[in-house]
């Protein structure tokens, strides 16, 4: 089981991480951050395998750490 640490203030909501996640862990949030952007959050936390594909895809380095 893995775990992702997301800095929602850095997220710009491009949703590229949602596209690459093989286990559908990430989802767009219903609430917006201080910039008025709906960031992603880890909804299905138990599905995460810690592959770090999302972190390597994120252009804004908003997924700061991945644990496995």
């Amino acid at each position: 089981m893995g775990r992702v640490v997301i800095d929602s203030e850095k997220c710009k909501g491009c949703l590229l991480c949602v596209e690459v996640c093989p286990r559908n862990v990430l989802k767009k949030s219903e609430t917006y951050n201080s910039k008025g952007i709906y960031p992603v959050y880890a909804e299905n936390k138990n599905n995460c395998i810690g592959c770090a594909l999302c972190a390597k895809r994120c252009p804004d380095m908003a997924i700061t750490e991945v644990y496995r």
Binding site: K12, C14, E19, V20, R57, C58, D60, M61
Partner: protein, 249 residues
């Protein structure tokens, strides 16, 4: 027991906020370069030459020594830095407008002289920062703010192909084109940049890595559609691969 499998590279500033448009591939390129500097252990002796364009804010992200070059003159400045400090590791970070339009003369002469520097060129097929005007790398038929009916070969001519031009320079040691449209290509791009860096460390000559990138804002597409466009429209015009490699001749 959890193990850390991914973290930000050490030379990315702790409090840095990436200021590119949502989905822009610049951030990925900046991160993989910082990872390679850590892996190769050369961060302490690196001097980066940044350019004009979207790549201008490099000093906001990197905790490295950075020189800001005038528009298009990044490889000319890098030549001076490398000749004054031959023991330093020098690379430029440029866009396609900077490398292939304003700085085409400087770029080609630096490659022909075989300066022992590395050029990273981010090709998004338009002038991103100034509002999406036509660049020399804009492909035929592509709509930009200055080619509203699409680029026409009769009027604006044909696109410039950076890697094909760089590969004919005798001084160039490593020339490759890669993309950032998928996780697989991101890994491949990292390998290509690593080989370019190694060719400079081994003193073989100049090295160029052209990276096909997206510009969702000026292409008027979502990031996902932009990556699809790279695969559909840019791959046939700009084929990926290694165009020259002196180390494995």
């Amino acid at each position: 027991m959890e193990t850390l499998v991914f973290q930000k590279p050490s030379r990315i500033k702790k409090d840095c906020k990436v200021t590119f448009c949502p989905g822009c591939d610049h951030g990925v390129a900046i991160r993989i370069i910082a990872e390679l500097l850590d892996e190769l252990g050369i961060a302490d002796k690196t001097i980066v030459v940044s350019s004009i364009g979207c790549s201008v804010f490099l000093n906001d992200y990197y905790d490295l020594d950075i020189v800001e070059a005038p528009h298009g003159r990044a490889l000319a400045v890098a030549t001076g830095v490398k000749r004054a400090k031959p023991d330093k590791f020098v690379f430029t970070y440029q866009g396609d407008g900077d490398f292939a339009s304003i700085g085409l003369g400087e770029s080609m002469h630096a490659l022909s002289r075989g300066e022992k520097v590395t050029a990273i060129c981010i090709n998004n097929t338009n002038y991103g920062m100034t509002g999406g005007q036509m660049a020399p790398t804009t492909i035929l038929g592509q709509k930009t703010t200055t080619t509203i009916n699409g680029r026409d070969a009769e009027v604006q001519g044909y696109p410039i192909k950076i890697c094909e031009m760089a590969a004919v320079c005798d001084g160039a040691a490593f020339v490759a084109r890669c993309s950032l449209d998928s996780s697989k290509e991101i890994e491949n791009t990292k390998k290509m940049i690593k080989r370019a860096f190694e060719s400079q460390i081994n003193g073989l000559g100049a090295s160029v890595v052209e990276i096909l990138s997206i510009c969702p804002t000026n292409w008027r597409l979502s990031p996902q559609e932009s990556h699809e466009r790279v695969r559909r429209e840019l791959y046939p015009v700009y084929p990926l691969g290694i165009y020259k490699d002196k180390a494995n001749k």
